[in-house]
Symmetry: C2
Subunit: 371 residues, 2 copies
């Protein structure tokens, strides 16, 4: 029986991608050595590197106005690199506080410069609509987390920040549907959710924003330096880039982003349908219009039931269903590597579990009400 | 015919390590999923993580006074993180300029604080002995690159910096022989030379130095934060750490660091013996007492001969023999993953090549002398 992996990241990777990676691990493209041993200055590596960037540009529709950078340090390092580059003394940046990771980004930026809160999600974890944003039109940039992994919320469309460059953390919804790249000054995403590899972060950044970055900071943290060196300023995370290449080749082979987008829509539709069929049992507080297609977050009536849910799921080979420890509860992550079939099996399981436990729960509630 | 890999990094990895990694790539310790898909909060990953640190501590003799951190960003990021943490306003740090990478570290530190040059290698690329170091005894720290990859030089023993904490870039000689860790405040090394994985850097740092680090800088760049979270502050480079684990298990199985040290001594002895047998042909400027055991650097009488050497070597399946492009010439890297047999084959090749080309070269020189 296969293991159904709903991890929040590192997350499921398509089997075909893993199989190709395994098959070729001792011989990278006929060189007789592993990709793990390959010099990043050798022609076979450089060709792979350029092909990976070209595949991403092509599949994601990255225009000539933007550069694609493949960096180390994961999204968390971007929380610091962004203000380091784009928040000079005397300037201010706007942050939309929509969840756990947006607050980390905000806290990190405060160690570097002046930041303002342009919106705060309510106690229910939901954010303000565009027309309630309190934006400073002189802000150096506005930062938003477009999908909130722990809260299960997602911007249906990016917030409108006018002429202020929008910098978007898309760690958990990068490459999950088509977007209009022209609306973004910079987007970034750790690889370990929708693309496969941990240990790397993809940054897509507008050329004119790169040019405005500070040049009096360490070279290693300048977007300019990485853009000028084609992300080869220092030894790149070569295996992560190789895995990204294998993922993108697979994505191309199955029909590109249009197909992934359709699958992602269908997977989340199936899951929310089960949740909504048992609303007293699978308790999802997120309003339908801002529900994440990537992370379906819910609670059960008691923590004991949540523990039972997790153990029974594990016995059915379904893993990775806990939410971030800072938040608690359950979470189903539906990134690109999660197959439709895995979601169908999980929905079957959730239906049986609810039917098996809900009547007892109802009885208990009824007893309490009359007690 | 096997490929003999003398890459400067990413470098050769023992075949047994690659084979184990390949064999288990689709099923990490019976979990039914790949290490690449494994959550870093799951018990199997956490056990691997702790086992890796424990193996390194044990094999390398890391005392309780020091922490082992497994970070992202490669050694180049340490060039910036070190002064960021340990060079507050008003303080000064000493740098020993012994080669290309030591200068990069120095340049990067200058973007952050006050730095002094405590020694400069001469035009021949050789550095001063200890008693010619111009050390500031109030320095916040003294930084030295213990093996100079491009210059082919290595400190036989670490420079004596007295009570000033010694911070050592050991990217290219980490875990290549036994060291006395107590002499070091902090050592760091990118993984892709002596340990296997690119995309990660190992930092071994003294507890009292961690405590002295600045806490008003971004959390992601504080050693304190990584020490307090056991290098799990953010998503770790899990596959790189897994590969490190497989390498260290292999190292343990072959007899640990004592055996690697013996092999490394023998490999470099063989290679310098060939170089010294043809001193007019294989021109190594490095004095014997500071020759690197890791990188044997030499030139041939003409660049044309160097090109010929490289093409004939490649036809004999020997690759990775060019030096860093900023320096030029030839370089043989003899890191832990390079087998003794590979070095023996290369020595045979170098002997034949010298015997085949040297007479003609001698004739030309003689003709020039009398012309």
């Amino acid at each position: 029986m296969p293991t159904y992996n709903f991890n929040g990241g590192p997350a499921a990777i398509p089997l075909a991608v893993l199989q190709k990676t395994q098959r070729d691990l001792l011989d990278f493209e006929g060189t007789g050595i592993s990709i793990l041993e390959t010099s990043f200055r050798s022609p076979p590596y450089l060709a792979l590197h350029d092909r990976t960037v070209a595949l991403l540009r092509n599949l994601y529709g990255v225009p000539e106005t933007h550069r694609v950078l493949l960096l180390q340090g994961s999204a968390s390092q971007q929380f610091a690199m962004i203000p380091m580059n784009f928040l000079p003394h005397g300037a201010s940046a706007d942050y939309l506080l929509t969840g756990f990771f947006s607050r980390l980004a905000y806290d990190e930026a405060q160690t570097i410069g002046n930041v303002r809160v342009a919106a705060t999600a309510g106690a229910n974890g939901l954010w303000m609509p565009d027309d309630e944003l309190d934006l400073d039109d002189r802000a150096a940039y506005a930062h938003a987390t477009l999908n909130n992994t722990s809260e299960g919320t997602e911007f249906a469309r990016p917030p409108d920040t006018g002429h202020v460059p929008l910098i978007a953390d898309m760690s958990s919804n990068f490459f999950s549907r088509r977007i209009n790249m022209e609306k973004y000054g910079l987007i970034y995403a750790g690889g370990q959710k929708n693309l496969g590899p941990s240990g790397m972060v993809v940054v897509i950044v507008k050329n004119d924003l790169i040019a405005r970055g500070r040049s009096d900071i360490p070279a290693i943290w300048q977007y300019r330096v990485h853009a000028e060196t084609n992300s080869l300023y220092h030894t790149p995370p070569g295996f992560s880039i190789y895995l990204l290449h294998n993922f993108l080749s697979w994505a191309e082979s199955i029909g590109g982003l249009v197909q992934l987008e359709a699958w992602n829509a269908e997977k989340s539709r199936l899951l929310y349908a089960i949740v909504d069929r048992f609303p007293d049992f699978y308790r999802c507080l997120v309003a339908p219009e801002i529900r994440s297609r990537m992370n379906v977050v819910f609670r059960l009536p008691t923590e004991l039931l949540e523990q039972q849910f997790l153990s029974e799921a594990e016995r059915a080979n379904m893993i990775g269903l806990t939410n971030h420890p800072a938040v608690g509860g359950l979470r189903v992550s539906l990134y690109n590597g999660v197959e439709l079939e895995a979601v169908e099996r999980l929905c079957d399981f959730m239906e049986s579990f609810a039917l098996g436990h809900q009547p007892a729960e109802r009885q208990r509630y009824t007893a309490e009400l009359h007690g």
